[in-house]
């Protein structure tokens, strides 16, 4: 199986004045193509910090990270942005669509940034919207959509560039359980049908139950890493 993410002895220490807070302690993990992994743990356990470091949004204090076989070393902000553009997709808790753009434009945005011609970008975005069953939302702006619809558009935006991995930080936290379950169904379907690799950070039991691999974090350290059979993981 192709390795998508490798984290080697990553430590993250936040310093505020003379106070040091250790968010991650020598964390190591490996994620391969097609995994549907959940980082679980209570608030402050370090799961979002680890997700941010894997997403190149934050730098580790020590240790190394590889994404899609590329080592993420000390790179400039522009280089990291370019790396994220091609290799990583993000789904946020608060959907975070660009409010002045329509659903189609939001999904097209990463492709346009990649330099894809507008027409081709729109075709590709339309395809993803159709895969996710939200083609009818194409002309709607975020304020005209429900939370669940916005989050589906956010998933489409994350998927459209065919990234090595999609990082989803508490993607169901702002949704009711029914909508959340529906959204998880959708991501699971994308994972199974299109072999999209997902890494979640969540303390939502509904998300944890769906994970085929569960990594538990506590006080910045991985305390359990289990691959669950499909019968264990809810579907």
């Amino acid at each position: 199986m192709e390795e998508v993410v490798r984290v080697e002895k990553v430590t993250k220490i936040y310093r505020v004045g003379s106070i040091e807070t250790v968010a991650l302690r020598e964390v190591s993990l490996r994620i391969v193509q097609g995994e549907f992994t959940v980082l679980a743990g209570p608030s402050g356990s370090g799961k979002t910090t680890l997700l941010n470091i894997i997403g190149t949004l934050d730098q580790p204090t020590s240790g190394e990270v590889w994404i899609g076989g590329k080592r993420i070393a000390q790179q400039s902000a522009a280089e990291l942005a370019r790396f994220r553009l091609y290799h990583i997709g993000f789904v946020f808790q608060a959907y975070n669509l660009i409010p002045v753009l329509t659903a189609l434009e939001n999904v097209t945005l990463p492709l346009i940034l990649q330099g894809v011609a507008k027409k081709e970008a729109e075709q590709r975005a339309e395809t993803v919207l159709e895969q996710l069953g939200i083609a009818e939302l194409r002309a709607k702006k975020p304020n005209e959509m429900s939370g669940g619809q916005q989050q589906r558009v956010a998933i489409a935006r994350a998927m459209v560039t065919n990234p090595a991995i999609i990082l989803a930080d508490e993607p169901t936290a702002n949704l009711d359980s029914h909508t959340g379950a529906h959204l998880l169904d959708l991501m699971q379907q994308m994972n199974e049908e299109h072999n999209v690799t997902f890494l979640f950070a969540s303390h939502d039991p509904q998300v944890i139950d769906r994970g085929r691999r569960l990594i538990s974090i506590h006080d910045g350290a991985i305390v359990r890493d289990e691959v669950r059979s499909s019968s264990t993981a809810a579907s």
Binding site: D58, A77, A81, R84, L85, I98, V100, L109, P110, L113
Partner: protein, 404 residues
């Protein structure tokens, strides 16, 4: 994409953008109006001088301008005038003889410049004939004089009264003549009115023993824009050492003043621009503070930080472009309206008379003003967004995403 995004972003808070745009529009109108008014005033001062006495061009002895003496007069000016008359660009031309002298009534006396003119020609050169308030203009007969209201008041005389004129002839001997006041004029230039009185050319020639002499040939042309061109046409027609000078050369101070007013526009722009910059910095800082999380999302998606800078600058540039267009449209409409009615400054008319300007000032709008506004204002607003854009450039994605 960035252009589209920036355009939509400025309408996210339409009220705030409208307030900023209004301030830019008012600023542009203020600059355009003050500049047009200043230029109008300066142009009017210049045109007033041209229409009062200077005319578009004057043929002179080269030393006369610095030493206005009969010693430096034009010999056989009629021959030169005949050549000038043949030029199609020339609307009117006339011979003048000027000499400093004294005008005396029974009660008082005053120093004046006595101007001998060809009345029929002079009517088409200046506005003196149209500025007669009582009596009439010169008929061409000797022993007639036209004086101003100021001079009449000072000498305590009126139409029909006699005055004694005294002036030196070519040899320096003082000559005098009696003349009858046939007309009293009043122009919009009180200094001019105090200085000048007019008689027929032959009368003054006889008085100062200057037969066949002139101190100037005044020339009015059909199109003021062609003054340099006509000047070049006249030059080869002149016998040495005569020269032809344009109004710009004859009235250098006023010409400089017009140039100075054109430069002053930049000072206006600097002052208004400084105010605009503070407004834009404030607006853009508010706009980016509201969107920090969104910038974090864009950075997460993979937008290069420099494109975020471009986005912010484009938003400010849009405000500048819209404000400049709005200001130019409104300012041009206002100035166009005032160009037909004029700005009535009757309240300050006495002060304006001492400046040599009529009470109604017509603002002047030149294309350069419009061009400057359309270029300069977007540049100012874009410059005002540099600091907010720099703040966005330095955003860390994680901090931006956490920003509440």
């Amino acid at each position: 994409m960035l252009v589209q995004l920036s355009w939509r972003n400025i309408w996210r808070n339409a009220r705030r953008s409208a307030i900023v745009l209004s301030s830019i529009v008012v600023g542009v109108i203020a600059v355009m109006f003050s500049n047009s008014f200043s230029l109008g005033l300066a142009h009017q001062m210049l045109q007033s001088q041209i229409r009062l006495h200077t005319t578009d061009l004057q043929i002179l002895h080269p030393r006369y301008a610095e030493n206005p003496s009969l010693e430096y007069s034009i010999v056989q000016p009629e021959q030169v005038l005949a050549r000038i008359d043949t030029l199609p660009a020339v609307a009117a031309a006339g011979i003048r003889l000027e000499q400093f002298g004294l005008i005396n009534s029974a009660l008082n006396s005053s120093g004046i410049t006595i101007v001998g003119v060809q009345p029929q020609r002079e009517r088409h050169l200046t506005i003196i004939a149209q500025s007669i308030r009582s009596g009439r203009y010169l008929s061409g007969n000797s022993y007639e004089i036209v004086i101003s209201e100021e001079t009449a008041r000072k000498l305590e005389i009126g139409v029909g009264d006699k005055v004694v004129l005294m002036a030196a002839d070519r040899t320096g001997e003082i000559r005098s003549e009696v003349a009858t006041v046939v007309g009293i004029f009043r122009t919009f230039n009180s200094d001019f009115d105090q200085m000048y009185s007019f008689v027929a050319l032959p009368f003054l020639r006889a008085m100062v023993r200057a037969d066949s002499l002139a101190t100037a040939i005044a020339v009015r042309i059909h199109s003021a824009e062609a003054v340099e061109e006509v000047q070049q046409q006249i030059t080869p027609l002149l016998p040495p050492p005569l020269v032809v000078l344009s109004y710009r050369q004859l009235l250098p101070l006023l010409s400089y003043m017009i140039e100075m007013y054109a430069q002053l526009m930049w000072i206006f722009y600097l002052i208004v621009g400084a105010a605009m910059i503070f407004g834009i910095v404030n607006t853009m800082l508010m706009a980016i503070m509201e969107r920090i999380t969104e910038f974090g999302v864009l950075l997460s998606i993979g937008i290069p930080p420099v494109k975020l800078v471009v986005l912010i600058l484009l938003e400010a540039a849009w405000l500048g472009v819209l404000g400049a267009f709005g200001g130019v449209l409104a300012g041009s409409a206002l100035i166009a309206a005032l160009q037909s009615t004029g700005i009535n400054l009757a309240f300050f008319s006495e002060g304006l008379r001492s400046l040599g300007v009529a009470a109604i000032v017509y603002p002047v709008l030149v294309p350069q003003q419009i061009l400057n506004a359309l270029i300069f204002v977007p540049l100012i607003t874009t410059a005002g967004a540099l600091y907010p854009a720099w703040k966005v450039y330095r955003l860390q994605p994680v901090e931006a995403l956490r920003f509440v």
